[in-house]
């Protein structure tokens, strides 16, 4: 393909460092708006301290911290309003106001410390291994989120909205699971490899249908992927209810037999932790997608189609083929998530809810990660922590883990709207000073709010 070379003006092959930079900026300018230190245009007369303060105040990290604070605050309000003891204590608030505040502190502090205990370090644990176990649980939960998030993010970069994570995960889980328990006599590493490849291939094919239909007939990928979710769900339900296909022999439940030992992802840190090599695969996928997007001509074609399909076509890129390829790769990544579920997380046999909502969570992960592979890795781990911690919180404090969804989505929402966060915390706007000197800032969307 001679496409990238023929594009007029800039040659991406010659400027590998610049090109991904600009593309990333376009994609996630809200997530990390700081292209260069904010203080660079400051006059020298200002003291160093003021400069440092200014830098901190206008840093996107400050906005992110503010966003997390706001989201946690909202979560606290929800806990406070629904906690029984707070309610009881506030009944005699004017008699003994102290009780209300103690109850508030216990309810909110208890919930968030349980969240921390469940996701990072269990400070109450008797020994080191139990203490860091939550961290490994977080990474376990993060594994499918990262892989599926990459699939959604990659499609986003090519201008496609892959809403079909559920269906792709289901067919991938079915394929990987079938190889995992149906094929016998294959030794360990080979059997595992076969199962993983089967999962990736199945996910790729399922998403590829959407890609082909989009490229050939123009069918909108949103409809097609949603419809494929339902088709996959019923197809897998049928397989699960049919002896000889996926249903465990001698059982009438719609559930598969357990995955064979030789097809299971081995534990990464020994038998005392649930974390499997699936996490390593997910991290490798992150590196792979980063390379694909930023260092390969295929990835350049993907991004070109995403930024401006017409220009891409004029430049000689086969947009139809790029669409199909993107969906194949995206589906393969979601397929990896499905495979890691049945070969790592749930090896005792699965049913039609094996996707566990990850297909939809992946959309949020991709958005929080700014559709950037490393961002997806970070976002996936964060959401994994929320999932792991939410379980502990529900068990220990009786706070429904649904609150995690609220906090999670508020974080994404606030991070996406830096002007709002800055307005709430009265932070200065970094673009105000830079705007006249940097024409690029005119494109920046926060400009309008200034």
């Amino acid at each position: 393909m001679s496409a990238p070379e023929s594009s007029p003006g800039s040659n991406p092959e010659q400027e590998p460092g610049l090109d991904p930079g600009t593309a990333e900026e376009l994609e996630q300018e809200r997530a990390r708006e700081l292209g260069s230190p904010a203080g660079e245009d400051m006059p020298d007369t200002e003291s160093r301290l003021a400069k440092a303060l200014q830098q901190t105040m206008t840093s996107p990290w400050t906005v992110s911290v503010g966003a997390v604070l706001l989201a946690v605050l909202a979560g606290s309000v929800m806990i406070a309003f629904t906690d029984e003891e707070v309610k009881a204590a506030s009944g005699y608030f004017f008699a003994r106001p102290g009780d209300t505040f103690v109850a508030l502190g216990q309810a909110i502090g208890g919930a968030y410390s349980a969240l921390f205990r469940g996701s990072v370090v269990n400070v109450q644990a008797p020994d080191f291994v139990t203490a860091i176990r939550p961290l490994t649980e977080t990474l376990s939960y993060a594994t499918p989120l990262i892989a599926a998030g990459l699939g959604v993010a990659l499609a986003f970069r090519a201008g496609l909205f892959n809403i079909g994570g559920q269906g792709q995960m289901l067919v991938a889980a079915a394929a990987a699971g079938w190889v995992g328990f149906g094929v016998s006599g294959v030794p360990f590493p080979l059997h595992l490899l076969l199962a993983v490849v089967a999962g990736i291939a199945a996910g790729a094919v399922w998403a590829g249908i959407a890609g082909v239909l989009k490229a050939r007939t123009g069918a909108h990928e949103v409809i097609v992927t949603i419809m494929l979710n339902y088709v996959a769900y019923y197809l897998i339900s049928y397989f699960l209810a049919t002896p000889g296909l996926l249903q465990a022999p001698g059982s009438s439940n719609p559930k598969t037999p357990p995955t064979a030992e030789s097809a299971q992802l081995p534990n990464l840190l020994g038998d005392r932790f649930n974390l499997t090599w699936g996490f390593v695969l997910a991290v490798l996928a992150v590196v792979g997608v980063w390379w694909l997007l930023n260092r390969s001509s295929t990835g350049f074609a993907f991004r070109a189609v995403g930024e401006n399909p017409r220009a891409a076509r004029v430049a000689g890129i086969d947009t139809g083929r790029a669409t199909v390829n993107v969906m194949l790769v995206a589906g393969g990544l979601v397929g990896l998530a499905g495979a890691s579920q049945v070969l790592g997380a749930v090896t005792t046999g699965f049913s039609s809810d094996i996707d566990a909502g990850i297909g939809f969570d992946a959309i949020t992960v991709a958005l929080l990660g700014g559709s950037n592979p490393w961002g997806v890795l970070a976002a996936g781990i964060l959401f994994g922590a929320f999932k792991a911690g939410g379980t502990t919180m529900q068990a220990a404090e009786g706070v429904p883990s649904d609150i995690v969804l609220v906090v999670q989505s508020l974080i994404v929402l606030f991070i996406a709207a830096p002007p709002l966060v800055r307005a709430i915390f009265r932070l200065p706007d970094p673009n105000r000073r830079r705007a006249p000197k940097k024409p690029k800032a005119a494109r920046n969307q926060k400009e309008a709010a200034a």
Binding site: R30, R216, T217, H220, V231, F360, P400, V406, L413, A416
Partner: protein, 431 residues
């Protein structure tokens, strides 16, 4: 694409005609594929016996006797009609003409009737056509309202992926208000307010803060699921008696009209929310296409800068549109807790908002077409109920899958490339 423009210009008519017709072979091809699949079904799973089509209910004014048809013969007759339409489509395409919508409708009708006859063959139970169609209308309520909300938003340039959030938030609010006030109408009003509230959040982030509309929509969906599920288990479950047992809308038969055979009970013996839907669809169409407000709304969605230049307040128009869209979607959310069930359940909309989104695109951003698409999905949701009564010959999972496969085929073969409003998804930044 591959056709060289110069040959098109130089070559005589025949060449040009051939180039043009390439596009529409798709329809004929899909029709042929469906016909073949249908024939394959009849051959592979023979299902002998009679099918009893029930056209009237016991209480109806006009009684129509049960129509008993020999299933196999009837199914093949329907297949013949399908084949004829397919052949006609091929002939038309070869002559460079498009397959008319009526042919496609005839094809679908024949296919559906044949399929139903085949599915109900040999069953001692009657296959109730009224139940099939009436249920379809009922089940389509959230899809149709949701799709209308989606159309209004997108025509103004704001992608409304938060339909799911609006439906769920509205269902939740309607449940609480209707339970407290013992009034379904109050629940409906609360649902409208809740839908508009979710839309307001969408508007603040998407219009004022220029956040990517897809992000806001998806995140709002998650946010509302979390919020309602949390409040459900913390507030509604402990006091289910007072807060979560709603007063529902009852069916109101319209005099005279409800006595029309078949159509009467299907269309005119339904709860208030459905009659509102019959009014809402043409109203939205009229408002969008025939009023000044609608023209401005569409202008803002197609070319906000041009609209701004002629003095239309883009931000305000978009806010209005999004709020109306949320309110309309809220009506759909009320269906769950004031018509379908008398209580709220966690995540009870179960992705209906995404189906409504599909209906928006399927209907090419036109309110009437989107409503019909919503009706199709409603029919699909209801088909399983009817067929499970008759007892279906193929595994139920495949029955349930059929509507979605048909949608895929329809989107690929009949709808094709759909063009959203030009500025849909683009935040407007003045200057």
């Amino acid at each position: 694409m591959s056709a060289d423009p110069t040959t098109q210009l130089d070559a005589p008519l025949s060449e040009t005609t051939r180039t043009v017709t390439v596009v529409s072979w798709k329809t004929a091809g899909v029709l042929l594929a469906v016909t073949l699949l249908y024939a394959l079904l009849l051959v592979a799973v023979p299902h002998a016996g009679d099918t009893r089509f029930l056209l009237s209910q016991r209480a109806d004014f006009f009684q129509i006797p049960v129509i008993v048809l020999p299933a196999t013969a009837f199914a093949w007759a329907c297949g013949a009609v399908m084949l004829a339409v397919t052949a006609a489509s091929f002939v038309l395409t070869a002559r460079g003409r498009r397959t008319s919508l009526w042919l496609v409708v005839l094809f679908s009708l024949a296919g559906l009737l044949g399929f139903l006859a085949w599915a109900g063959a040999g069953s001692p139970r009657d296959l109730s056509i009224v139940g099939l169609l009436g249920g379809a209308v009922l089940w389509s309520v959230p899809f149709v309202y949701g799709a209308l909300g989606g159309v209004i938003g997108e025509r103004a340039g704001v992608v409304n992926i938060a339909i799911e959030a609006q439906l769920l938030g509205a269902a939740f609010t309607a449940a609480i208000v209707s339970s407290i006030t013992n009034s379904a109408v109050a629940g409906l009003v609360a649902a409208v307010a809740a839908g508009a509230l979710v839309a307001l959040v969408l508007g603040v982030f998407a219009i004022t803060y220029h956040v990517n509309q897809v992000i806001v929509g998806v995140v709002l969906n998650v946010l509302v699921v979390g919020l309602t599920s949390f409040l459900y288990s913390q507030v509604l479950v402990p006091s289910a008696e007072t807060l979560n047992s709603t007063t529902r809308f009852q069916s109101i038969p319209i005099p005279v009209l409800s006595d029309i055979p078949v159509l009467g009970p299907v269309l005119f013996d339904q709860p208030l929310l459905i009659y509102l839907m019959f009014i809402a669809v043409p109203t939205v169409w009229y408002t969008l296409n025939r009023t000044r407000w609608g023209l401005r709304l569409r202008a803002v969605g197609e070319h906000p800068k041009a609209a701004d230049t002629v003095g239309i307040d883009v931000v305000r128009t978009r806010y209005n549109a999004v709020l109306v869209a949320g309110a309309v979607a809220g009506l759909g959310g009320a269906f769950y807790t004031t018509v379908q069930l008398s209580q709220f359940g966690e995540n009870m909309t179960g992705g209906a908002g995404y189906i409504a989104l599909a209906a928006v695109i399927f209907g090419k951003w036109d309110p009437v077409r989107a409503a019909f698409a919503g009706l199709l999905f409603g029919f699909a949701s209801n088909l399983q109920n009817v067929l499970s009564v008759v007892g279906s010959p193929v595994p139920s999972q495949f029955m349930l899958m059929i509507p979605y496969v048909v949608t895929l085929l329809a989107v690929a073969g009949l709808v094709g490339r759909s063009r959203p409003p030009a500025a849909s998804g683009e935040p407007y930044i003045k200057g």
